[in-house]
């Protein structure tokens, strides 16, 4: 390896800054600010979901509305294999199983729908959450005679445990997103997004690429679901398969802009913070939870109308204009 040819500045930006941020985040809980850790758990959850969503839907343009389905599968993996009473597997095994089951399910869903036109995929994934919710309700109530389940919670510092699990999953998600983007695969995905027929003629096995990428992105959603179940303790199908969990990552990714990896991250942090503030707010004695969703919808429509390529591209455009002017005057 020729060290002289490495562009140090570029390496620092692509590898150094994320590493520094990761290290800072890793030491964050030691500071002892418990509310901050809770808040960051919330951020990390949505960052993972929206980056994972972007891995597939951002590049190919196939809109997946099934995030909540895979997330819920992960939650139920934890509910079955990590219950509060009885035998349980170690948590990392449960997380891996959640990811694996989501991977397989997404693979099946993709194999059924992704060889067809994009609209079938959107239609199919939209109802998937409802499908799982009803079928699990039926199984639990008719066969098992229960409604919900209890997940084991390690009494020693739950918050930090969840935090570290989420942090590792987030780092992996970002890494995979980055590697896919850089690889031959990423180029194939981008080709599919721009012109699927042309990509097929160039020799890309389009169905395989789409189905595999979809399954990879779903496995992160499953993993994060298994972790969050240990935080929530009680889960039932209504909690696990909540359609909002499908919709939020989409809005966050679009608002941030899914042209880059940082877009969804910024969108997720902004929106989960707004959500956290509004759902806990008690201004003027009004419950703001519903208002949050109305605002959420309004911002989604406004973003589609006025900012279709997201906040990051807006910032980049402004930045380029500012920099360009300075250079021109020099």
């Amino acid at each position: 390896m020729d060290f002289n040819r490495i562009n140090w500045k570029k390496t620092f930006i692509t590898a150094g800054i994320p590493l520094i941020i990761l290290v800072v985040l890793a030491f964050f809980p030691l500071y002892g600010w418990q509310y901050g850790v809770t808040l960051f758990n919330h951020f990390l959850l949505f960052v993972i979901l929206s980056v994972a969503w972007t891995i597939f839907s951002g590049t190919t343009g196939y809109i997946s509305l099934a995030t909540a389905a895979f997330f819920g599968i992960g939650i139920y993996a934890a509910a079955l294999l990590y219950p509060s009473v009885g035998d349980r597997y170690p948590l990392y095994v449960v997380v891996l199983i959640g990811a694996g089951v989501s991977f397989v399910l997404a693979f099946i869903v993709g194999a059924i729908t992704l060889r067809l036109r994009g609209i079938y995929f959107a239609m199919f994934t939209f109802g998937l959450v409802l499908f799982f919710r009803e079928i699990i309700y039926w199984y639990e109530i008719t066969v098992k005679g229960i409604r919900g389940r209890f997940v084991y919670q390690d009494p020693a510092n739950v918050n930090n445990n969840v935090y570290y699990y989420l942090l590792v999953i987030m780092a992996l998600t970002m890494l995979v997103a980055y590697l896919i983007k850089r690889s031959k695969y990423g180029l194939a995905l981008q080709g599919i997004g721009e012109n699927e027929e042309a990509a097929a003629h160039m020799g890309v096995n389009i169905t395989m690429v789409k189905v595999l990428t979809y399954a990879v992105s779903a496995s992160f959603m499953g993993a994060v679901g298994a972790v969050m179940a240990t935080k929530w303790v009680y889960v039932d199908p209504g909690v696990a398969f909540n359609p909002m969990m499908s919709f939020s990552p989409v809005l966050m990714a679009i608002f941030g802009g899914f042209g880059s990896i940082y877009g969804p991250v910024i969108g997720a942090v902004i929106f989960s913070y707004i959500e956290e503030v509004l759902t806990t707010a008690n201004w003027f004695g009004i419950d703001w939870t519903q208002f949050y969703k109305v605002i959420f919808g309004a911002i989604l429509v406004a973003t589609i109308l006025f900012l279709p390529s997201g906040l990051v591209s807006l910032i980049q455009n402004v930045w380029r204009r500012v920099m360009g002017r300075r250079r021109a005057s020099a």
């Binding site: 959107a122 309700y137 309004a298 279709p308």
Partner: protein
């Protein structure tokens, strides 16, 4: 025999309403090119307007005359403002479809949560009594209100189908469904025609909601389920085929009722059974029963 009659007739009765809901979505997707995820929310809103008027002593069947045009205007305005802007900004139809879907999704959130904010609506179920006496058909009792609701749903569907087939506007709609840009070149005011379709779709959802409120309890979160049903029916009948949606609605109604009546399965499995149909359809015949 009684059970069989119960399933078939009961299925056809609810199927009439499914047909109407699906016809609305078929217009919105087949012609106006918006996969309207908020479709069920229009239905929910229609149901609640009827409920509210009924509480103020208006005959529920009369409210259709109010709900239909109101929803039409809402749909028309939404399309002319939001979706037309997106359509004109989109570089190709694919981008319009996905952005339209996402905008519809924003509308879904807005409508549903505004409905939940209305003080008396909340998240608890509401119902009222209307024509609740039973009619015996072939030995099986049916509530009068279900018969009336199904008859109205089918009547609205048929009237609309005739309107599309015979009128000048209907001709424009059919032309736009085949090829929007060529229709525009032939002198069809395309933005208006597409908005009309979207408005008609919303009106059908609203009317279906009114009819549902006559026979079943309603709540603010019921919309999603009907959107899923409409999506499955529209795929079953073939995207954009109005007679297909009409027949698909009846098929789904019978299947759902059969599952609900079967021992061990029950109402909870109705939606999963629709999904099973959806999966089989995508595997075997993705273009639907009547698709071209």
């Amino acid at each position: 025999m009684d059970l069989f009659l119960n399933i078939v007739l009961g299925g056809l009765l609810i199927g009439g309403i499914y047909s109407l809901v699906a016809m609305g979505l078929s217009l919105q997707y087949g012609v106006a090119r918006v996969l309207n995820i908020a479709h069920g929310e229009f239905l929910m809103f229609g149901a609640f307007i009827t409920f509210w008027l009924q509480q103020n002593n208006v005959d529920p069947l009369l409210t259709i005359v109010i709900v239909g045009p109101f929803m039409f205007v809402v749909g028309f305005v939404l399309y002319r403002t939001i979706f037309t802007t997106i359509r004109l900004k989109s570089p190709n139809p694919g981008v319009f479809e996905s952005n339209g879907l996402l905008a519809a999704f924003g509308i879904y959130l807005i409508v549903q949560n505004i409905a939940r904010l209305v003080p008396d609506w909340g998240s608890t179920p509401h119902s009222y009594q209307y024509l609740a006496s039973a009619v015996i058909i072939g030995g099986a009792p049916f509530q009068e209100n279900r018969l009336v609701a199904a008859a109205f749903a089918v009547a609205v569907g048929i009237i609309f189908y005739i309107y599309i087939g015979r009128s000048r506007t209907g001709k424009a709609i059919r032309a736009a469904a085949q090829d929007a840009s060529t229709a525009a070149l032939m002198g069809v005011n395309i933005s208006n025609t597409l908005a009309l379709c979207f408005g008609f779709g919303a009106a059908m959802a609203g009317v279906a909601g009114s009819l549902i409120s006559i026979c079943y309890p309603i709540n603010t979160v019921m919309g999603l389920q009907y959107t899923v049903i409409a999506i499955v029916v529209v795929t079953l009948g073939g995207l954009g085929s109005i007679p297909g949606s009409f027949i698909g609605g009846f098929i789904l109604g019978v299947v759902g009722t059969a599952v609900s009546y079967t021992k061990w399965l029950g109402t909870d499995l109705a939606v999963p059974s629709y999904y099973l149909i959806f999966i089989l359809l995508l595997l075997l015949r993705p273009k639907g029963l009547f698709g071209k």
